[in-house]
Structures are given as C-alpha cells and as structure tokens.
C-alpha cells in the first residue's frame, strides 16, 4: 500500500512542474511587456529600466523560471502581483475559502443526488424513472452553467422571489445561507448528471454478473444484494468520476463565481487574466493543479482501499 501511495505521489511532482512550465512560457511568449503592466505604458524609460532590473525581468527566461521554482519550493514564495504589488499568496488566500466552500458543497450535492439517481435508474432499468434519469443526465451535460445560472435566477429569484439574486462572500461577516443555494445548485448540476450516468452504467454492469444472481439465489435480501454486493463493486468507477468531476467543478466555479459575483479564485483568475497579471495567473494555475493532483491522489488511495485489485494491477499497468 505504501509503495502504491508513493508511486502516485511521484507522479504528482512532474505534473506540477509541467503545468508551471507551460504557463510560465506561455506568459513569456505573449507579446505584452510585464513592465508596462507594473508601471503603465507611459512611464519614463529610466523607471521602466529600474523596475525591470528590480523585478529580475532582465534575466533570461530559463533563469527566471528556475528562480521561480526554487523560491516556490524553498520559501513558498510565489512572487508579487504586477497590479497590487502584494504577495501572490496573500492575494489568493483571500479568494480561496469562497471557492473551496462552493466546490466542496457542490461536490457533496452532486454525489448525494447523482449516486441515488443512478442506482434507482439501474434497478428500474428501462422504466420511466430510468428514462427520466437519462434525460436529466443528457440535459445536465448539454446545458452549460452560464445558461443554467441566468435561467434559474430568473425563475427562482426574480420571478418567484424564493431565493436571493446574488452570491456570497465569506469576508463580509455573517452570510445568509440562502445565498449559497443557487450557486451550489448551478455548479453541481453538470457533475450530478455525469455521476448519475456513470453510476447507472456501473450498476447495470455489476447487476448483470453471475455473483449477483448467486447472491439472490441463495436468498440474500434485495437490499443486502444492492448494498453489499452491487454498490460496493460499482463504487470504484464512481470514485474515479468523482475525482475528475472535482476538476470540472473548479473550472465551473469560474463561470459561477463571475455570474454570482462571488470573490473566489475563479473571479480572481479572470481579473488577473484581463489585467495580464502573470504572477497571479501562475500562482493560481499551480494552486488549481495542486488541488487537482491532490484530489486525484486521494481518490487513488481510496481506490486502493475500496478495490484491492487496484493496488496490484497498478504495478503492472501500462
């Protein structure tokens, strides 16, 4: 088991390096001059030269990238924002809690709705509830959150007046719980649909196998068959999709945060991108990659517990 975890951990490092490398050099290749962003285009040439030297922007790109990686690894220093000049870590630390609570509650909602829906659809295969579940799954996948958000806001908030229109911000003290509902629902919809679809097909797969028939034949109660035999074996693919879903939730939070004006890292990313604030973009890219790699690592480890075969097969895979 330890070896299994260590191999997984070993894969995380090159992933993070590759992401940071890609984003760093995309920034280097872009035509904008960072000094113009720091000082504004009309600054005096002497001031520009001084800032270029102070920020180390006159060094060759590989050296800058190397220094960046070293500073991140040894000091946790992600550089300073071109715009506000504050450390990137402080900037991100302000937005992160909002995104974290949004993504985690959306994942919870997606699992709590998607898994039962998929299980019921599989048990009642080809019934109306199965068709409803599949129609929901298809709609969920084909309706982007930037469509669902205005439509739900219009119906539930503007017309019916049941829910508040805007989003939330943890920094503003006491938050009305109702402001969480719409953003969470909008963010969770697509994942819920994906999870429902996958749960259904995983359950259908398991339910058609011989050991289920055996269990039924020897008189195990239907619920016992469902939970002990079927669901347990279907859990492995469900876990995998829950992990990848988290990635969708993070990119989905970009849309949801901008729509509901929630000051999370999605909103910060868009601001940073529009302002070409490269250190912030790089920091956010690394953070997002780190979260994603971390979540996948947790999923892989859980996988090893849920399905002992994963531990063995991994060593001879590929």
């Amino acid at each position: 088991m330890l070896r299994y975890v260590l191999t997984r951990l070993g894969l995380a490092v090159p992933t993070l390096l590759a992401i940071s490398f890609l984003v760093f050099f995309a920034a280097y290749l872009s035509p904008a001059d960072p000094v113009d962003i720091i000082l504004g285009q009309r600054a005096a040439p002497e001031a520009k030269a001084r800032v270029r030297h102070e920020w180390g922007l006159d060094r060759p790109p590989l050296e800058r990238y190397g220094k960046y990686v070293v500073a991140v690894v040894t000091k946790g220093d992600f550089g300073r924002s071109y715009q506000t000049k504050e450390p990137v870590t402080e900037f991100i630390a302000r937005g992160f809690p909002n995104t974290a609570i949004l993504a985690v509650s959306a994942l919870g909602l997606a699992l709590l709705t998607g898994i039962p829906l998929g299980v019921v659809a599989a048990i009642k295969h080809n019934s109306w509830i199965d068709r409803f579940a599949m129609a929901f799954a298809l709609l969920g996948v084909a309706t982007p959150s930037f469509v669902l958000a205005p439509v739900l806001t219009l119906v539930l908030a503007v017309r019916m007046g049941w829910l508040p229109v805007g989003g939330f911000s943890l920094q503003e003290g006491i938050v009305d719980p109702a402001t969480f509902i719409l953003p969470t629902v909008v963010l969770a919809a697509r994942s819920s649909a994906l999870i429902a679809r996958l749960t259904r097909s995983a359950m259908l797969d398991v339910l058609s196998q011989d050991f289920i028939r055996t269990a039924r034949a020897k008189g195990v109660r239907p619920l016992g068959v469902l939970f002990k035999h079927a669901l347990r074996n279907a859990l492995s693919p469900i876990l995998t999709v829950a992990g990848t879903t988290f990635g969708y939730l993070l990119s989905g939070s970009f849309v949801v945060e901008t729509f509901f004006t929630i000051p999370g890292i999605g909103n910060q990313s868009i601001t940073a991108i529009t302002a070409r604030d490269y250190p912030v973009i790089q920091g956010l890219a690394l953070l997002l990659a780190g979260i994603f790699v971390g979540v996948n690592l947790i999923v892989d480890i859980l996988q090893g517990f849920v399905d002992p075969r994963a531990r063995v097969s991994d060593q001879k895979a590929i």
Partner: protein, 286 residues
C-alpha cells in the same frame, strides 16, 4: 463493412439520423442564411432595439438593435469552425503521439504516455483558460482571438485521443496481418499507413464527434468568460454574456443562443453514440 452498410445502420437509428439532419441544416443555415438576410451581424439599428420576434426580425433584435437570427447563425459558423479546427489539431497531435508511442513501444512509449498522463490529469478547459489568459486573447483582434482559442483548446485536448490511438495500435501491432505485411518486407511507413491507419479511422471518427461537442461547449465557456472569441464576433457564449444585463426582462436574448448551443451539443453526442453502434464490428452479426 462497406460504407453503404454503415450508412444503412446509421439511417436505421432514428435519433442518430435526426442528429445528422439537424447538424446538416445547421451547417447549411450557418453558411448561407446570413447572406440572404438583409442585416449584418454587427449592424446596429438604433431605432429597433430589443424588438420582439416577428416581422423583419424573425427572432427579434438585441439591446443594440442587432438582428438575433443573423447573429446566432454567424455564431454557429464560429462554433463549427472552431470545433473543426480544434479537432484537426487534436487528431494531428493525438494521432502522431499515439502512433509513435504504440508502434515504437519501449522508452519512447513510456515517455510519451507520461506526458499524456500529466496533461490528462488536468481538466482541459481550466488549462485552456490559463493558457488563453497568458497568450493574451483579451487584447487581440477578433480573428486572432478565435485562432488563440483553437490553439489553446487543441494543445490541451489531444491526450485522450493519443491514449485511444496508442491502445488500438498496441493491439493491432500484434495482429496476423501486420506480421504478414512485415514478412513480405513492408517497411514501417507502409505498415503504419496501409495496415494500421485504416483500422484507426472508425474509432477516431467516433471519438472526434463526441469530443467536438465538448469543444463547442468549451469555446462557449471561454467566450462567455470574455477570454475567448472577442467582440464583435457573435460567439454563442459571448452572446449569452452580452445578454446578461437584459435577460431579466428579455430572457429570449439568453434562450436563443443557449438553445442552439444545447441542441448542437446533444446532436453531436447522439451522432457519436450512433456512429459507435454502427461502426462497432462486434455488432456486425445481430
């Protein structure tokens, strides 16, 4: 299986057939209808703002007095062109990496698959957002921004196809007909081109169809966020974003492009499913 049999199988699948008809109509409408309509997609008519559907403006006008039908169809051009261009990049990169990795094997295979895994581990839209942000689509001209969207979605979108191709090549490489070809002295190029590539066409077509739906959604998301295709090009995502100030009184401004987007995505998904069923050799004898 001959192309004729394949077509008969697809035609027998009503949902797939309906999807093909929808997509064909969409392509034709996007190509020709804007030319027949009397309005330009960026033409603003100040005295006909927010007109309801009907009359000269079949789907009404938006807040700047632009004809919505014209814009939504020009938006279809952009969505379809971005999707086709991205898939070309994806097929080129995915096929190259997958073929080399699967055919050569050894350390080249390990290296290429590691790179693929690394990219696969990161959600592609997120990576495209960050890449677009650093490449600076927001400050580019509309045409350049569309090209940057294609680059960022193409560069981040190939790993799943590379995995698929590699898996197929590894399986095909050990088949008798490849051995036979090698034993009569065919070179690597000939084996790849004449024996392996033809067997990859079906799975690639299926994968590309389904992936195109994802690309269209991704492009809409990027444009919605304001970092994709830039104004005044009427991408569907951009149209939805532009409509957000007015949707409470004029939901049509969101619903029209959103419906086009969803229908196109659903049609591509159904078509992909239909193609998979029609091209899957395991189902040949039913």
């Amino acid at each position: 299986m001959t192309p004729r049999e394949t077509w008969q199988r697809i035609a027998a699948n009503k949902i797939a057939l309906a999807s093909i008809i929808f997509l064909a109509l969409l392509v034709l409408a996007a190509a020709f209808v804007p030319m027949l309509l009397p309005f330009g997609y960026e033409q603003q008519l100040p005295d006909s703002r927010l007109l309801p559907p009907g009359g000269k403006h079949i789907l009404g006008t938006d807040d700047l007095g632009r004809d919505i039908l014209t814009r939504v169809l020009v938006g279809a051009r952009i969505s379809l062109m971005v999707a086709v261009s991205v898939e070309c990049v994806v097929v080129f990169l995915g096929l190259t990496v997958g073929l080399i990795a699967g055919y050569r094997g050894g350390w080249i295979d390990s290296l290429l698959m590691r790179v693929t895994d690394v990219l696969l581990a990161f959600p592609d839209v997120l990576l495209a957002i960050l890449l677009l942000g650093t490449l600076g689509a927001t400050s580019s001209r509309p045409e350049t921004s569309a090209m940057l969207v294609v680059i960022s979605l193409g560069v981040t979108g190939w790993p799943p196809l590379a995995r698929l191709v590699r898996g197929q090549v590894v399986a095909l490489r050990q088949r008798e007909f490849v051995d036979a070809a090698r034993s009569i002295g065919s070179g690597h190029g000939r084996i790849l081109l004449h024996h392996i590539l033809p067997n990859l066409v079906s799975p690639i077509i299926v994968a590309v169809t389904v992936d195109a739906a994802g690309v269209i959604l991704a492009e809409a998301t990027l444009s919605y966020l304001g970092i994709g295709v830039q104004r005044p090009m009427p991408s569907w995502g951009r149209m939805i974003n532009d409509a957000l100030d007015y949707y409470k009184s004029e939901p049509r401004l969101v619903i029209v492009p959103a419906t086009m987007l969803s229908l196109t995505v659903i049609a591509l998904n159904f078509l992909g499913d239909g193609l998979r069923d029609a091209l899957d050799p395991r189902k040949t004898r039913r």
